[in-house]
């Protein structure tokens, strides 16, 4: 059988067996939570609480008057201990609200009432999703209410849920699809209702057939479960749309330019959960895996939990750790501090042992062309990287540097071990900085 896919891409070792059969479990309440004001794409939230104030579970503790932003909430009850700079998975120190957990789990009394979403208008649903602080849980953490508010001239005919989970090691989306299929379908229906889409598709890589088969039991006429060829970066939204609908998002455009909105299955699940419980987004599923932990797990984690707690729950370090990655090994960020909190966009924590960490001295490009063959965007990574290296930013832009989705396939495959993606990223940053001037 042939599964739909896209041109380019790579096949890194999947490593999903480490954790794919382990059901999602909760982790014990940590003693403290660190809630950064920036967990999403867009304007950072402003703290609404002060040190020493008491916060309830689900209470909004930060927000901002802006369109592209998302409020933050207290994941459990406790006292605000300090508001200051804390380590963040971006690598920078970011303002965060530290909560000393009291363990009482006292619910915020003014939580929005539970109503059936069918009785709400699309705008009311958007407002609820915004107030619940729901952002894309796939990694980029783009505020969901913005994503589902397309300009009126753009007609959306299809909502795609991303269940590809193409990053190695990560299995949390797979577990969600197995354990909460009805919530995912419900979330998809809510999204379709809000934007008036006639069709919903859940795209799943064929190495997760069990999830697809299970989800099929919950679908109706408007919803299709589609299997995709297992290849990285199948979960990139542009390539998901290409594979499923054979539509190409134009260069510099968005999925809504081709009538599509893509959301992660976890996001759909979070939306449905919000309407069922009234609680905002205060926890998320996280895969803790890698050769560096004793017993890999899929965990339901409160936002703000320091990563050390997750590693403890996963049986601790197996031997001397080398690298801890937030996200998957292809696109994730290596963190340097064990107190770094899990945020809304953290889908996984992958721990490498010291001996697993590879470092290579880059060589000259041997022009093998592999980066060109694997680039899913059809650009020439080696040429762009070389231009950036020589500070020829204009040429780099002409070659399509801004089209790069930073999947890292070129860098993964390069036999000369050139840090291609790092150069291209630097180039993109410089091009964008120049444009802003």
């Amino acid at each position: 059988m042939k599964f739909s896919t896209f041109k380019g891409g790579v096949h890194p070792p999947e490593k999903k067996d480490l954790s794919k059969d382990i059901p999602i479990s909760k982790i014990p309440l940590p003693e403290r939570l660190i809630i950064p004001i920036q967990q999403h794409t867009g304007a950072p939230a402003e703290p609404l609480v002060k040190p020493k104030s008491y916060v309830y579970k689900g209470q909004k503790i930060g927000d901002k008057q802006a369109f592209v932003t998302s409020p933050i909430h207290a994941p459990t009850s406790g006292t605000v201990k300090r508001i200051g700079l804390y380590p963040h998975s971006s690598g920078e120190l970011v303002t965060a609200i530290e909560i000393e957990v009291d363990g009482k789990e006292e619910l915020y009394p003014d939580l929005p009432e539970k109503v059936s979403w069918e009785n709400l208008s699309p705008d009311e649903i958007r407002q609820r999703i915004r107030e619940a602080g729901i952002v894309g849980l796939g990694g980029a953490a783009f505020p969901t209410h913005v994503k589902i508010t397309p300009p009126s001239e753009k007609k959306i005919d299809t909502i795609i849920l991303n269940g590809a989970e193409c990053e190695p090691y990560l299995t949390i989306d797979y577990r969600l699809m197995l354990e909460k299929p009805e919530l995912i379908i419900q979330g998809l229906k809510i999204l379709m209702y809000v934007v008036g889409a006639k069709k919903g598709i859940i795209g799943i890589e064929e190495n997760k057939k069990e999830a697809a088969n299970l989800l099929r039991n919950y679908t109706d006429r408007d919803i299709e479960i589609a299997l995709l060829y297992t290849k990285y970066p199948q979960g990139s939204e542009k390539h998901l749309i290409k594979a499923l609908l054979n539509r190409e998002v134009p260069s510099g455009g968005l999925p809504l330019d081709v009538g599509v909105i893509v959301n992660n299955v976890g996001t759909a699940c979070a939306i449905a959960e919000h309407f069922n419980t009234g609680l905002p987004l205060i926890s998320r599923g996280v895969t803790v895996s890698g050769e560096g932990v004793n017993s890999p797990k899929n965990l339901d984690v409160l936002i703000g939990t320091p990563v050390s707690k997750l590693i403890e729950t996963a049986g601790g370090f197996r031997e001397e750790p080398g690298k801890i990655i937030f996200g998957g090994p292809m696109m994730g960020v290596a963190i340097y501090n064990l107190e770094t909190p899990i945020i809304k966009g953290t889908s996984g924590v992958v721990v490498f042992r010291k001996k697993d960490v590879k470092y290579y001295e880059p060589m000259t490009c041997v022009r093998c062309g592999r980066c060109v063959d694997v680039c899913p965007m059809g650009i020439i990574p080696t040429a762009i990287a070389s231009y950036v290296e020589k500070e020829k930013i204009v040429e780099a832009e002409e070659l399509g540097a801004l089209d790069c989705i930073e999947c890292g396939s070129c860098n993964y495959t390069c036999p000369s071990r050139r840090p291609l993606l790092q150069w291209i990223r630097m180039g993109k940053a410089e091009i964008l900085a120049k444009k802003r001037k």
């Binding site: 260069s251 050390s308 089209d403």
Partner: protein, 330 residues
């Protein structure tokens, strides 16, 4: 848990494919072993000496160049000098004096590769320039062919000289292409069978089409080379042969087409980056080879065909870019 554990931080991706340059070069060496052994079997121990001297001198020139350039000798571990030395040896006639590969590798490694900055920066195939230099400078030595000392199957009826006899193993002769082109009397053309097996006069490593194909398929299977260049190269030679009334099978089996198409025209550094470009490269090299064979002074044109296309590679790269995802038609 110690919270002050030192962690390594770097930019994504955090995993890499196992196959680096040295891996690819080793695969090329493995792929060349069958034809190398066949060459030694057919042409005797002197060809083994030529191969050894060529490889050793190539590595020595590389080491000397690196020392002069004050670069780390660790670059030797990419095995590219070994490949250059081996490839050059395989394109030499079996009975060349041993100083020939030393001069050839000096040109290949120092002049073509290291002066431009080492592996990755040369714009011509080092081994081919080495061979071209030798051919122009020492034409007599470089076109003195011998018959194989051993043959496969029944006696070699293809050539007039009785060469299977062990008494006089070294008999000067001509290559099938020269026989065909110059209409040299007294020789018959070898059969397709012998052209495939390789027990015919020719360069050390170019005669056994079957074993070259085996090595080439191995490299394609191992994803070291792209099938597009050898395929378009050989197909072009085939088609042009038909157009000019030549025997197309003879044209692809005789001479250096397979060695050139699978091992020279697929050199990463000197061939185009993109799929489209590689097809253009293969067609161009095949076309030029046939033009030289049909209209040129030499009976064989593979080396020059590829070298000219090497020089055109930057232009090809510029003109044939891959289609960008989501490119908006203007």
């Amino acid at each position: 848990m110690k919270l002050d554990t030192k962690l390594i931080v770097s930019s994504s991706p955090h995993i890499f494919e196992g196959e680096d340059v040295s891996y690819a070069m080793r695969q090329v060496i493995y792929a060349l072993i069958p034809t190398t052994l066949a060459g030694i079997y057919f042409f005797g121990t002197h060809s083994l000496l030529v191969i050894i001297v060529s490889i050793v001198s190539a590595v020595a020139w590389e080491a000397i160049s690196l020392l002069i350039r004050r670069k780390s000798l660790s670059a030797l571990s990419d095995f590219s000098a070994v490949v250059t030395g081996l490839l050059l040896a395989l394109t030499l006639p079996p009975k060349v004096p041993l100083w020939i590969p030393i001069v050839g590798t000096a040109v290949a490694i120092i002049l073509v590769k290291q002066i431009f900055g080492g592996l990755g920066n040369n714009f011509l195939n080092p081994a081919l320039v080495g061979r071209a230099f030798l051919l122009i400078s020492y034409p007599v030595i470089m076109t003195s062919w011998v018959n194989p000392i051993r043959t496969i199957g029944n006696e070699l009826t293809s050539t007039a000289t009785s060469l299977a006899s062990t008494a006089t193993p070294i008999v000067s002769t001509a290559t099938p292409l020269a026989i065909d082109k110059l209409k040299i009397s007294g020789y018959n053309l070898p059969s397709y069978f012998h052209l495939c097996i390789g027990d015919i006069p020719g360069c050390i490593g170019e005669t056994s089409v079957l074993l070259l194909l085996l090595g080439g398929l191995w490299l394609i299977y191992k994803k070291v080379i792209d099938w597009k260049i050898p395929f378009s190269f050989i197909l072009t030679v085939f088609v042009i042969s038909i157009l000019f009334g030549k025997d197309p099978l003879f044209q692809i089996l005789a001479g250096g087409i397979f060695l050139g198409a699978f091992f020279m025209a697929t050199d990463w550094v000197t061939t185009p980056l993109t799929s489209k470009g590689r097809i253009i490269f293969g067609i161009g090299a095949g076309f030029l080879t046939m033009m030289i064979r049909i209209f040129g002074a030499y009976p064989e044109g593979v080396s020059y065909g590829i070298l000219v296309m090497n020089a055109l590679t930057p232009l090809i790269d510029r003109s044939f870019k891959p289609r960008k995802f989501g490119e908006v038609k203007k």
